[in-house]
């Protein structure tokens, strides 16, 4: 604890002691560490707030508590294995991470045009499901942080419906590693279309319920209206994208502006609000979920039988996955083929799985509109079987810089609302 004429830096320690020291001096400002373990800071986020009474005069953000060296680790694995790392960055938007990475790798390989149609439809399908799941968590944690636990339980309940479908498709609720360079890991399992149709029927009711809880709720309005205001020039200067930018009045969405995975073939609107405050961000996210439902429905109509992995034996893994008595694994047909049918097939399988494919030297940048904003992947290859350098431009990382602009001059309670409206996920921020 540091005590000066001007301020008291309460970086941990005994609060009784802090109060005693505060009373002993004439200092009126208090520097408070909120986090990194505070339950309302979206994981291990540390906010360093200078308080003058209830007013937050300075807000600084400390990050790095969840740095796991994903970008460095990827340099020691094959290009395909990279998917398993990136899915763990922003763990609420794993499928966006994977798709951004795979789009960059495919651009490096120059095979973007050869990705099968069905793989692209499946990618869009899982990304839009993922967008809804992420927005539900954003709303749920938001509600919890403002004290509305019903919103929290409802949000997580709704998200679980989506995760059930993602689990059916990919085998896992989170960290799917489902989107792979060249396509997706496996085709949709039987029965999933019916499940998604059920979801499409049920989900509008659930969204309506949540809107009934919050849209006109006087307490919610009081906590969110005109709070953490950030206008359009502010967003541009700070590099803010995604729902935050659209809540400041600019209809900018990479799905429309720079379509990827065939987004140009889908009909959907970009919800915009010019409120620029926490409430506008909430409204934009809710409206985006409805749009996502529309896209998911169109995906189901677009699904045509066909391959889900690129028809290039040098890139796409030869193995077809199948469900056996001991779980998911290589299909018995494939095992029979490589073990007793074709020596060349065995060698090919072995080389492709252990060594991986070579990616021509060069660099590429691919960006997707993740649930949180522009998620960019800068991939550099030296011509080898492993990435030379992969860098992710994570939207949460960029958006957290806006905390000072949003919070300074407001009350300390509004800091919570501001951070919640940014919806940062520290796994993505720190990588």
């Amino acid at each position: 604890m540091t005590v000066t004429e001007d301020y008291i830096d309460a970086s941990g320690g005994d609060w009784d002691e802090v109060i005693e020291r505060a009373q002993a001096t004439s200092a009126e400002r208090l520097v408070v560490n909120m986090g990194p373990q505070h339950p309302s800071t979206h994981g291990v986020l540390r906010l360093i707030l200078t308080l003058d009474g209830e007013t937050c005069t300075e807000a600084r953000v400390g990050i790095g508590y969840l740095h796991t060296g994903i970008e460095k680790n990827m340099e020691y694995r094959t290009w395909t294995q990279g998917t398993t790392f990136v899915t763990r960055m922003d763990y609420l938007t794993p499928l966006f991470n994977e798709t951004a990475y795979c789009l960059a790798v495919e651009r490096l390989l120059d095979v973007s045009d050869r990705i099968p149609e069905r793989a692209n439809v499946i990618r869009v399908l899982v990304m839009e499901l993922n967008r809804m799941a992420s927005h539900f968590v954003a709303m749920a944690t938001f509600g919890m942080e403002l004290g509305a636990t019903t919103v929290m339980t409802n949000g997580f309940r709704e998200r679980e419906m989506i995760l059930d479908i993602l689990e059916l498709i990919t085998g896992l609720r989170m960290n799917h590693a489902y989107v792979r360079p060249g396509g997706v890991a496996q085709d949709l399992p039987p029965g999933v279309v019916g499940k998604i149709r059920e979801l499409l029927k049920e989900m509008p009711k659930r969204i309506a319920t949540m809107r009934k809880l919050l849209d006109e709720n006087p307490v919610y309005l009081a906590r969110t209206r005109d709070v953490a205001y950030l206008n359009l020039p502010g967003c541009m200067a700070l590099g803010v994208t995604g729902p935050l930018l659209r809540a400041s009045g600019l209809a900018w969405d990479l799905r429309k502006a720079k379509p990827y995975c065939g987004y140009e073939d889908y009909e959907f609107d970009i919800p915009v609000s010019d409120g620029g405050d926490v409430y506008a961000r909430y409204r934009v996210r809710m409206a985006e979920m409805t749009e996502s439902l529309k896209i998911v429905e169109q995906c189901l109509d677009k699904l045509r039988p066909g391959p889900v992995m690129i028809e290039d034996a040098k890139i796409g893994w030869p193995a077809k996955l199948a469900l056996g008595p001991d779980g998911m694994g290589n299909s018995p047909d494939h095992i029979a083929h490589i073990m007793s049918g074709s020596m060349e097939a065995l060698i090919h399988h072995f080389k492709l799985v252990t060594e991986g494919f070579r990616v021509p030297a060069g660099q590429a940048y691919a960006a997707v509109e993740s649930a949180k904003g522009e998620l960019g992947c800068h991939a550099v290859s030296d011509g080898g079987t492993r990435p030379y350098r992969v860098h992710f431009r994570d939207p949460s990382f960029t958006h957290l810089q806006a905390v000072a602009a949003m919070c300074e001059g407001g009350t300390v309670a509004d800091v919570i609302a501001a951070v919640a409206s940014i919806d940062p996920v520290m796994g993505g921020v720190d990588r």
Partner: protein, 250 residues
């Protein structure tokens, strides 16, 4: 074994100072490396012909006009952007050393002392209007003498729906690149991250401190000369070395 070793041991008993562990250890470390990797392959060790059949060239060093390829819609505005940037820079057009068009993306290689000027032109010139900078990414090429550290910027224009890359380099011996935070405030944290991981000093940054690694960390972890680290994992008596020491394909 080498005759030198035998010469050293000639006539010495087991307890001779030459055989003490620290002495032996330093001798082993001083011996020249004759092979690396667990199986001693210097090529891929590939006998199937799978990996070596196709030799690909490296990325193009520089492209020449026209940058727009009528066959490739991704390159549609490249000639216009190159012209507009040249016009916006005016006298300082020499700032752009070369332009590379590769895989539907355009890269302007810029001299580092002109970076801020280029960034300002990209943001302010009405014909360019790159409102959004999506950060800086460092890349370390230890073999690229005097240009070891690369700083790669991506700019996005919302007005013209265009996307470009600007790349600048600095030598390891003088790792300084001017900061563009004064032009694009969003680069504040991105430059801190690149300093943290690559050791590139962004001159003029308002507070260039580490952002992901602890404040008292030594070294810059994503440089190629920084080992991945990790510890051997033991399982039922067998030991798996850390990832960067395992047998691997280059």
């Amino acid at each position: 074994m080498s005759t030198e070793n035998e010469a050293n041991h000639n006539g010495d008993g087991a307890e001779a100072p030459e055989n003490l562990p620290d002495r032996r250890g330093s001798e082993r470390l001083a011996a020249p490396v004759v092979r690396t990797g667990m199986f001693g392959t210097t090529t891929t060790g590939d006998t199937s012909g799978y990996g070596g059949l196709r030799v690909r060239g490296s990325a193009p060093a520089a492209s020449s006009r026209p940058f727009t390829d009528p066959e490739d819609p991704r390159t549609a505005d490249f000639d216009r952007v190159a012209d507009d940037l040249e016009a916006a820079l005016g006298e300082g057009a020499g700032a752009v050393e070369r332009i590379v068009v590769d895989r539907g993306e355009i890269t302007f290689h810029v001299r580092r002392d002109a970076l801020v000027e280029v960034a300002r032109a990209l943001r302010d010139d009405p014909a360019l209007r790159y409102e959004l900078c999506t950060g800086v990414s460092g890349v370390h090429f230890p073999d690229d003498t005097d240009r070891e550290l690369h700083a790669v910027y991506h700019f996005r224009s919302i007005t013209h729906n265009s996307q470009i890359r600007v790349e600048t380099t600095c030598p390891d011996a003088d790792p300084h690149v001017p900061s563009i935070v004064s032009v694009y405030p969003t680069n504040d944290w991105h430059e801190r991250e690149t300093w943290d991981f690559f050791g590139i000093v962004f001159d003029g940054h308002p507070g260039l401190t580490r952002i992901q690694m602890p404040d008292d960390w030594h070294g810059h972890p994503q440089r190629k000369d920084y080992p991945l680290g990790g510890i051997p994992v033991e399982y039922r008596g067998a030991t798996v070395p850390p990832p960067d020491e395992r047998r691997s394909y280059k």
